[in-house]
């Protein structure tokens, strides 16, 4: 589904974060990207989302070269993603409203995205309900808790029925029960609808719980991707077995204690 070929990227005059970097992600896979802050996790996500252009190299998603945000890619950021002046409903509907604004032009919105107003409203209601915030639909973001805001951001992405979900530390500021619930939701979408996702985190246990494949990035230049196959993924909350903890230790070693 995703092919990253010979990617290089740097911010301005700073030393490059990626150089000759290759990666390939298959459809339906669950990926986690982990590494110390400043290692380029978020940058990689922005590159995949089409929000930043590589200095050289190419990124293909579903065989198409990425030069701008792709309509079927959903992106959830840690915070600041919601419009403060719009209600929960209008925030969750924003993506669909933008699609309506442009029409199905294949550039800003998928060609097959023709959807009437009523259907769009219904779809947004469905996701708000699934995320347990339908009763908050007329509230403004300032009236919500962090968890409720993050649910709104997730509902906004899912309402666009993405085939690829990019999540940038989406759960790191949430309390444990909320985090586990949302992790289960994302896993569920992966199991049942083959939703491909790439989740960026700095939390080792979260990485082992969510990533079938864990990409480890390092501070400085990343050239050869270090990927760990993880068979312990899919276990959220509850008692974690020895295998799970061993896997965490393995990643901790890989990271070289660089995290904390």
């Amino acid at each position: 589904m995703i092919r990253v070929n010979d990617l290089s990227f740097a911010y301005g005059q700073h030393p490059s974060i990626f150089k000759g970097f290759n990666l390939s992600v298959e459809k339906g896979e669950a990926w986690v990207v982990i590494g110390p802050s400043g290692c380029g996790k978020t940058t990689l996500l922005y590159l995949l989302a089409g929000l930043r252009r590589p200095l050289s190299g190419r990124i293909f998603i579903e065989e198409k070269l990425i030069t701008r945000p792709r309509p079927r890619t959903g992106l959830v950021l840690q915070d600041h993603g919601l419009l403060p002046w719009a209600t929960v409903f209008n925030n969750a509907r924003l993506g669909l409203s933008i699609w309506e604004f442009y029409g199905p032009d294949g550039k800003h919105a998928p060609r097959d995205s023709k959807i009437n107003k009523k259907e769009a409203d219904k779809r947004v209601d469905f996701w708000l309900k699934r995320l347990g915030i339908l009763h908050l639909k007329d509230r403004y973001p300032i009236q919500l808790s962090r968890g409720q805001r993050q649910r709104t951001a997730i509902a906004r992405s899912l309402a666009m029925e993405p085939d690829l979900l990019l999540l940038d530390e989406p759960f790191s500021a949430l309390d444990a029960p909320t985090r586990e619930e949302l992790e289960r939701l994302v896993l569920d979408l992966n199991f049942k609808q083959e939703l491909t996702y790439i989740l960026v985190t700095h939390d080792i246990e979260g990485a082992v719980a969510m990533g079938a494949k864990i990409l480890i990035l390092q501070k400085g230049q990343n050239s050869r991707p270090r990927v760990i196959e993880n068979h312990c993924w899919g276990r959220v909350g509850g008692v974690k077995g020895n295998l799970f903890l061993e896997q965490c230790d393995k990643i901790r070693l890989e990271l070289g204690g660089a995290l904390f």
């Binding site: 922005y46 989302a49 089409g50 929000l51 945000p69 309509p71 890619t73 959903g74 992106l75 950021l77 840690q78 915070d79 600041h80 993603g81 919601l82 419009l83 403060p84 002046w85 719009a86 924003l94 993506g95 409203s97 933008i98 699609w99 604004f101 442009y102 800003h108 919105a109 908050l136 509230r139 403004y140 973001p141 300032i142 009236q143 919500l144 808790s145 409720q148 951001a153 906004r156 666009m160």
Partner: protein, 240 residues
Amino acid sequence: MLLVGWEVLALALNQPILPTPVQVLKAFFESIFGHLGLHLLASSARVVAAILAAVATAVPAGLGLGQLPALNRIFSPLIAVIYPIPKIVFLPVIYVMMGITDFSKVFLIAIIIFFQILVVVRDEAANLHPELILSVRSLGAGRLALFRYVYLPASLPAVLTALRVSVGTAVAVLFIAEQSLTTWGLGYYIVVETYQVLRYEEMYAGIVAMSLLGLVLYLIIHALEAKVTRHLDQGVEGMG
């Protein structure tokens, strides 16, 4: 209260320069649907045209400056110099350069409002979170949709506040600009048609009309402001 005080003062003074409110209101209602009404209409048209022209140019310019730091670096010293100058001093320059037309009067008022709006929109756009812009772009928004769904709603409250603050100055400048080189407008009516020929009751009727113009504009802007800042009035609740 105001009217009673005015009435008492007018009766005590018993001079033509201070007619009683009853006389003034009579004069007002006699001509507001006729002669005075036309003057009011001319003044309103000039202010509204100036407001629209200022908003239509200052909002995009402010957004551009706010989003492009390189551009802002070039223009911000210039704006800093021009911003505090009372624009009324440009009146003769504008007349000479643009001719004695309605356009030049509207232009003068428009530049007053223009700079007020330009500065607040620029600051508002510069303060938008980059993550917010990125996340909306990730939903497929190009320049147009960003303008429609982010920049415009983000800057609208500030635009209206700037308008509300500058509408008083705008009406004051209008008053001065209308005193000469036109035969329509409340400035002309108050100074030339009534004050200079000692028709004090009509003069006060003109002042009432001018006050109404300012007040109505203020109230309209205030109401729009209340509408677009609803999200700021909400109490913070449901945290946890």
